[in-house]
Amino acid sequence: MTDAIAHHDEHRDDEGSKLGIWLFIFTELLFFGGLFITYAVYRHGNKEAFHLAGQELDVTIGTINTVILLISSMTIAMSTTAIQKKDKRATLVLIWITLLLALAFLVNKYFEWSAKIDHGIWPGSPLLEELGRGDTLFFGLYYFMTGLHALHIIIGMVLITVILARVRNNRITHDNFQLLENGGLYWHLVDLIWIFLFPLFYLIA
């Protein structure tokens, strides 16, 4: 058995595991794709209402969160470069920054959502029913899509925490950093989805 395990390690195939994460990213894109189609269909049917509802959202917080995610994408990419340059300290610092930025994103999201809920807007709320179908669909999609995206942020944070621990105990090193790169790719995906959510909900109002 020990022989067998040693044999597996020998056959490490970084290209293969990178292919794996790319395929997983395709899956995620189609997962959100279903929601983007739903958004497109309902926007087409409720142009006026979507237009007005979009103006209710706080562009400032949205912009700040966009910038936060873009920077976090940069820091995780930089950590991949740092590990290749054998700079473990910089790698750790950059991963920490990524994690903190992700947390900041969630804190912002929390305030944004609670402000909306304070105004009486949540799925199935009486106010939404009063506002009509377009608003119901817009905010339904808003909560569902940004909520699912926030869930992906949390999953990404768990993944990055695992990576952080592995960099610390030297299981991710300059010649074995595929997990870090894969984590980075996943994080870019989470970033990318937000890049689409941001204009769809906040900007084209």
Partner: protein, 537 residues
Amino acid sequence: MSSSQTEPKGYKSYLEEDGGRKGIFKWILSTDHKRIGLMYLYAMMGWFIIGVVLGLLMKLELIAPGKTLMGAQTYNATFTVHGVIMIFLIVIPGLPAVFGNFMLPIQIGAKDVFFPRLNLFSWYIYVLGGILVIISLFGNGAPDTGWTFYAPYSFKTGTNMLPAALGAFVLGFSSILTGLNFIVTIHRMRAPGMTWFKMPLFPWTLYATGWIQLLATPVVGITLLMVAGERILGIGFFDPAKGGDPLLYQHLFWIYSHPAVYIMILPAMGAISEIIPTFVKKTIFGYKAIVFSTLAIAFVGYFVWGHHMYTSGMSGTALWAFSLLTFIVAIPSAIKVFNWISTMHQGSISTEVPFLWAASFIFVFMIGGLTGLVLGSLATDVHVHDTAFVVAHFHFIVFGGVGFAFFGAMHYWFPKIFGRKYDSGWAKTGWITFFIGFVTLYGPMFYLGIAGMPRRYFDYLDEFHGPNIISTFGALVMIAGFLIILVNLIKSARQGERTTEMNPWGGTNLEWQVPTPPPLENFEEIPVIEKATYKFD
């Protein structure tokens, strides 16, 4: 029976290799692709028995008009749970999870799949999905939406449909991860010299299937989550009262669930393409045609979902486009049938059990496929939509196609998997009984559908009584056949005559060049592939 070698038992087979674990932990902690394949087999066997019992209950209810066994609500729950179990727990994982796991690495000359631990994880997700389906049976009554969970009824019904829908979501996740694993395995782990076009056809079909699993399953995943959001939060995505569109649900659902039938049938076609050359001792006719038609089915299969919705309300243009595409997707399947028949032409056919299953597969698949065209053309579909005709067509393809191929593959690879022989006399008796029962069960339903008997009702008009009696009788015969097959296989797996013969059928692929049963990592030394597969001396 040429080239039958006997390997002296100077090695430890995967069944003896326990990784230092005891009892059930030998299985549930093992990342060996062969053990995982068998774990899927055993889980699916249990589910299948439940699904068959539910199917039998429906046929018994339909033996006479009016209420015989159960009322409307129970009948609705029965066909829903029957569908959910059969579709999501059996035919979708189906051949890839069992034989794909067991045979794919061996057939491409690899020691395991690329992500062995992810493979075991997929099995656990599969079990979790099954548990959710079981949970749905308790509480407010079993779900009664049909396996399609159509909106808006799926969030209006008082029954416990949410766990079933979440179960389907979770099972989809398992399916995605298996597909991902197989694609990476095929890309990265083929033995040296095994170019794409030297790869056997079963891995090819698993490859095409893997892409469908990856790219189609997430769409139904998000759709089922949206239904959950609808039920839990009352969001209103598919609720007309809140501005939502139930038709959108149908589109999103079928964008996955039509390609899903190719997830089911492609690996079945792959298994048939393995069995036929072995038993006619001839190279497969048109290897490349089979490969490209497999890829064509996977590709075109994405664009035909609308044919489930001819009567739901779509534009006329969409209707004829979907109808045209449906006819186009039939072509590659027909190409395969021609290839199989041409392979048999002038071959030396030996009618062993796996071949009988393969031949009867072609028979039922043809009937299922051609009646599919009746449903694919617009005018006739309006007439037979939502009738027993659809049920007959569907069961000829999915049960006849996938089921027959599964039994064929089971009898083909059985000696390799278990290192034991089965009783081929009983296997043949089981096959002929099953086959006769199958045709008697589903054949009359074509007539009933055309005569106007709707599906999914516990009751029917008196004029449909005769064919329904025949159909129920067929169900009993088929189940008798199934029991013969099941008892024979289980008994043989436990006490059958041991065999270490490497190549009992005279097959040409790599699985027949490893010891029986295979050792833990299949190959002592990774083979180097020089010649194309399916070459008989």
